[in-house]
């Protein structure tokens, strides 16, 4: 969203004091104690201020030598009364507040998990389940100052961490807030009753370019009417703290299920997508018209030659841009501050942003570079391919090693449980894979935290200690039961299982891996 759109955002409200209470516990937990305190305050205030004004007028000194009528200066009884009566009120308020606080803190056991990552300056929500509790085949990840879709009528639990500084996740309408910390998870939960959900749009027209079924569902969901609740960042986090606004779009369960499946299908890189990423992420510090903001402008940046702060020469090619995004402080352009936070973009997004930057360069890419069609998807460009691990490594390198673990930790157990029933089968193994292994092992040959499972079965592998081992049934079983006994060379000893797998589950997984030729 642009700054203008952020300003125009609307928060539903129906009173001068509190905004509309759009979650199940808001009224009971917060609004009732709030108004109890409110009336206590109003009464106490007048009990203090009315006598004050009355005495001011009644006992006004009308002549300079007018004496006070009385010099009475103490009364044990009165002191005890006005110390203890407030104390009684305070205890009542305290108890009620504590009760509400526990309602806000303790989420119902069947809450739907959504992972939230805060960064300077936006949120990234990763969806791993649909509202009917099915584990998604591919997680949906929405990044930026975006509209995040959540289902009504089902408790949602946000599992939050930050990849840089402190943030705080605040939804006024849900009366919920918690700081988002680096290196630690905090949670917030809410359930929006169905009557506060959005309603289907009337005669919706799809704009040009929205053609596929998935795009239509996404577009339609975002254009349902109402049900929008803003999200503020309330812990000061730097320059664009006040622009770190997003909103929830609350839709009925069925619509949410449709949306999350559509959103999780990969869209592929495009300039348009790059422009969107630019608006959400880069725009705060990089202009596209040549003017200097915090960092260099993107205009004519592509293939530009220059010097870094410590005197090295660089060419702003794909690899350089990619490195600048993942490790922003490695090569700082001369005369600019080392102020850029590392960006967590996936390959598609990265390619999109490079395409976008390229589109801002008037002249055709000069000297020696591959022709335009060659580098669009960045294939054949060795660094890009070779760098792919960077994406997977990053969670391990950076603040949150837990990132790799998290789907396993939090989301997996229920799915794993389901998979445990019945005799071993490749299908059951696939379920286990999707609930646990998928976090770190790909099935398409790409490198994540751990080695890919594609053609893993029977593979001869060299370990970090120079030993050789074969991943046959026994080898695999060993690798699952004692993950760190043999570590494939070049990989970190990072494997953790969220729970002990049963023999049947292990057999199922091995069967499944066998199918991945």
């Amino acid at each position: 969203m642009t700054p203008e759109e952020l300003i125009a955002m609307n928060m539903p409200t129906d009173s001068v004091w509190l905004p509309t209470a759009a979650s199940t516990v808001a009224v009971e937990a917060v609004d009732k104690p709030y108004y109890l305190i409110y009336y206590t305050c109003v009464v106490t205030f007048f009990l203090i201020v009315i006598p004050m004004f009355y005495f001011m007028v009644k006992y006004k000194r009308r002549s300079p030598d007018q004496k006070a009528e009385s010099q009475a200066d103490h009364s044990q009884l009165i002191e005890i009364i006005w110390s203890s009566v407030p104390l009684i009120f305070f205890v009542i308020i305290f108890v009620w507040g504590f009760r509400g606080y526990m309602m806000l803190q303790v989420e119902p056991p069947d809450s739907m998990p959504i992972y939230v990552r805060g960064y300077q300056w936006g949120w990234e929500l990763t969806y791993v389940e649909d509202a009917d509790r099915n584990v998604l085949s591919e997680s949906a990840k929405i990044t930026g100052r975006e509209t995040f879709v959540v289902p009504a009528g089902r408790p949602v639990k946000l599992i939050m961490h930050s990849s840089d500084v402190l943030h705080s996740f605040f939804i006024p309408n849900f009366r919920q807030k918690n700081d988002v910390l680096p290196g630690r998870y905090t949670t917030v939960w809410f359930e929006v009753p169905n009557e506060f959900a959005a309603t289907p749009p009337k005669d919706l027209k799809y704009p040009e370019g929205v053609t596929s079924e998935g795009e239509k569902i996404i577009y339609e969901t975002l254009h349902w009417e109402g049900g929008e609740y803003p999200i503020f960042c309330t812990e000061y986090c730097g320059k664009d703290h006040s622009r770190m606004l997003s909103k929830f779009k609350v839709v009925p369960q069925e619509q949410y299920n449709k949306w999350v499946n559509a959103a999780s299908s990969p869209g592929g890189p495009s300039i348009k997508r790059g422009a969107k990423i630019y608006a959400n992420v880069c725009m705060a510090c990089h202009s596209k018209d040549g003017s200097r903001v915090v960092g260099p402008s993107f205009k004519n940046l592509y293939m530009r030659k220059g010097k870094t702060a410590d005197g090295q020469e660089y060419v702003a090619d794909d690899a350089y841009i990619k490195q600048s995004i993942y490790e922003p402080n490695r090569m700082i352009v001369e005369s600019y501050p080392p102020a850029m936070p590392a960006q967590n973009l996936n390959d598609d997004e990265l390619t999109s942003i490079i395409m976008f930057i390229k589109s801002l360069s008037g002249a055709a890419p000069a000297e020696g570079d591959a022709p335009a069609e060659g580098d669009a998807p960045a294939e054949g460009d060795a660094p890009a391919e070779g760098d792919a691990p960077a994406d997977g490594d990053k969670p391990a390198d950076e603040a949150a090693p837990a990132e790799g673990d998290k789907p396993a930790d939090e989301a997996a157990p229920p799915a794993g449980e389901q998979a445990a029933a019945g005799p071993p089968s490749a299908e059951a193994g696939e379920k286990v894979y999707k609930s646990i292994c998928i976090a770190c092992h790909s099935i398409d040959g790409s490198r994540l935290v751990g080695p890919t499972m594609k053609a893993m079965y029977g593979r001869k592998t060299k370990g970090t200690k120079g030993e050789e081992y074969v991943l046959d049934d026994a080898g695999m079983k060993n690798a699952i039961l004692n993950p760190n006994a043999n570590i494939a060379d070049g990989y970190p000893p990072a494997m953790v299982l969220p729970k002990k797998l049963s023999d049947a589950e292990i057999d199922s997984v091995i069967l499944y891996i066998k199918t991945l030729k």
């Binding site: 300003i7 201020v49 606080y101 807030k177 905090t186 730097g238």
Partner: protein, 627 residues
């Protein structure tokens, strides 16, 4: 690292000035030593940094080194320049007998007689001047901020400037205005007078804390030109570790100011224990003294924690020890615990002196004994004690455990009781009094009204569930402005007006004083009461840009800020005007009963009392003279 340069060169400059003065040698020589030392240090330091493999390049480091190295010597030039050639401060005490009856303002002349004075009244006055300068500086930032918030988007400054402005507003107001305002400025002037003492217990220590205060505040001022700070006055990690800007310089300044605070507190505690006039028992000291006593205890006990915290932050930033950095196994929330362990008691360092002044204003304004003297006195001590165990209520949504939050919430309610007791007692004091409608009393009414609102809205924030919603919104902003500004600043200004005749020997225009109080009252409520509304609605604090539906509220608030500014300017005018045109003040213009009014001249002589006064009655014995 510019901060290290600044600190050291300032230190060297001060040293040079002191030596030059003490030795009565050629001042230029010592100045040169200071200058060369400063530059040499800058250069050596830069070289070492470069050898240590720091990424920043040599040229840039040397350049910064030189920039900051020069500031010190320039300062030395100024100080050495204004000092007359020879003057031994100790020489004054013996010889000038004929000046015994002259007021402290006229007893000695010349810049030097002020800079190296050991007279608590002159030191207090210099504090007062400094604090007022900072008050208007930080106030200016407040008005600039409110102006930008007139529109939801950009009006005239960008987000980075805005963030720097609110940080400076907060940091200057807290560390350079409110904390030293009543204790260092008014306390210094009034405490020995009220106790019947010649001076504070350690006059040289007193002068030293003033120097430390100037030293710390000059570093804070340098921050303004060295790029500013954008962390907020709370310096929360990890942002304060990552942010560029002169964070170290600002924290160093707060670190140094802390020592001034500690020394002043220590001085007051000893003074109150040891220098009371004969016959002045603990229950005959004015309530102002009780409040200052409680404040001093907190200052001495809590400020070292802040010093440690800021030092850790400085080390974290410069060396990266990782105590607050999760990537190195640290914990950012630990910083918040450390910080609030000082800063919550500091809230009471700020408000207790306000309450202390309030008791005097009410007694003088009603000509009546303060109701429940012992309850008011002991409530100060109770607040001082409980204030140490409530810091966690700033952190209900920081990720601390539910149990801890519950305990802190409960303790927070306990601290509200003694504050409430004070308010009730002040109101009861007014009953059947003889209430003057004059300037000091109008400011006291402002305090009663505004502090009541500030205190009551604290209930929302001490209650766990409502705080989850209100934390870090404008509701909090409004609440603490009602307490800090509506509380402390109202009585600070009230106290200035109240003691002004004693300080300067001049009466101010009472009509102007009353007008200023009324204008401030209107402006204040317009500015901050509106913030309760949009704060409750969820408007977060420290927002440069906000959603459109809050605009009306923000505009009311901005208009209020300008009215508030006008009010304070009227007050300033009334004071300055009195110096030029004011009537000479009588010894006891308010008909008050405490010793600074009954036993001293206006303005007091250099040693306060011509003879040692003896105390034979309570502080507010208004009925005594009838006998």
């Amino acid at each position: 690292m510019p901060a290290a340069f600044a600190a050291l060169t300032y230190g060297l400059a001060f040293l040079a000035a002191t030596i030059a003065f003490k030795k009565n040698r050629n001042t230029v020589f010592w100045y040169l030593i200071g200058a060369v030392g400063g530059i040499a240090f800058g250069a050596v330091y830069a070289a070492m940094r470069n050898l240590a493999g720091d990424d920043a390049n040599m040229a840039a480091l040397v350049k910064t080194g030189l920039t900051y190295s020069w500031i010190g010597p320039i300062l030395a030039t100024i100080i050495v320049g204004v000092l007359p050639k020879q003057d031994d401060p100790n020489a004054h005490h013996g010889d000038e007998h004929d000046d015994h009856h002259a007021s402290y303002l006229n007893a000695k002349k010349g810049v030097n007689s002020w800079i190296v004075t050991l007279d608590h009244k002159r030191i207090g006055l210099m504090y007062l001047g400094t604090v007022l300068v900072f008050f208007f500086t930080a106030g200016m930032f407040a008005v600039l901020l409110r102006t930008e918030l007139w529109t939801p988007g950009e009006l005239y400054i960008g987000p980075e400037t805005y963030n720097r402005f609110f940080t400076l507003h907060g940091a200057i107001m807290v560390f350079l205005v409110i904390i030293p305002s009543v204790p260092a400025a008014l306390g210094n002037f009034v405490i020995p007078l009220q106790l019947g003492a010649k001076d504070v217990a350690f006059p040289k220590l007193n002068l030293m804390s003033l120097y430390i205060f100037w030293y710390g505040s000059s570093i804070a001022l340098t921050t303004l030109v060295a790029g500013g700070v954008d962390t907020g006055w709370t310096f929360y990690t990890p942002y304060s570790v990552k942010s560029d800007g002169a964070v170290i310089m600002m924290t160093l300044s707060a670190f140094i100011l802390g020592f001034s605070s500690i020394l002043t507190g220590l001085n007051f505690i000893v003074t109150i224990h040891k220098l009371r006039a004969p016959g002045m028992t603990w229950f005959r000291i004015p309530l102002f003294i009780w409040g200052m006593y409680a404040t001093s205890i907190i200052q001495v006990m809590a400020t070292p924690v802040l010093a440690i915290t800021l030092l850790l932050l400085i080390v974290e930033r410069s060396v990266g020890i990782g105590i607050f950095n999760p990537q190195l196994g640290g914990d950012p929330v630990l910083f918040q615990h450390f910080f609030w362990f000082y800063s919550h008691p500091a809230v009471y360092i700020m408000i207790l002196p306000g309450m202390a002044v309030q008791s005097e204003l009410i007694a003088a304004g009603t000509h009546k004994r303060v109701f429940g003297y012992s309850f008011v006195a002991f409530s100060s001590l109770a607040i001082a004690f409980i204030s140490f165990i409530v810091w966690g209520h700033h952190m209900f949504v920081s990720g601390q455990s539910e149990l801890v939050s519950m305990i802190f919430s409960f303790l927070t309610f306990l601290v509200a009781i003694p504050s409430g007791v004070k308010v009730f007692n002040w109101i009861a004091t007014m009953y059947k009094g003889s209430i003057a409608w004059n300037t000091p009393m109008m400011w006291a009414f402002n305090f009663l009204f505004l502090f009541t609102i500030g205190g009551l809205t604290g209930l929302y924030l001490g209650t766990l569930s409502t705080d989850v919603h209100l934390h870090d919104t404008y509701f909090v902003v409004a609440h603490f402005h009602y307490v800090m500004m509506g509380g402390t600043l109202m009585t600070f200004v009230g106290g200035i007006f109240y003691w002004w005749p004693k300080i300067t020997g001049k009466m101010f225009n009472d009509g102007l004083g009353v007008l200023s109080a009324l204008v401030v009252f209107v402006g204040f409520n317009l500015t901050f009461f509106t913030q309760f509304f949009f704060g409750s609605q969820g408007m977060p604090r420290r927002y440069y840009q906000y959603i459109e539906q809050f605009q009306t509220g923000h505009q009311f608030s901005t208009v209020g800020a300008y009215i508030l500014l006008a009010g304070f300017l009227i007050a300033l005018y009334a004071l300055v005007d009195s110096l030029r045109r004011g009537e000479p003040a009588p010894d006891n213009p308010w008909g008050m009963t405490t010793m600074e009014w009954t036993h001293t001249a206006t303005p007091p002589v250099e040693h306060n009392f011509l003879d040692q006064p003896v105390c034979d009655r309570g502080p507010y014995a208004f009925d005594h003279d009838e006998e």
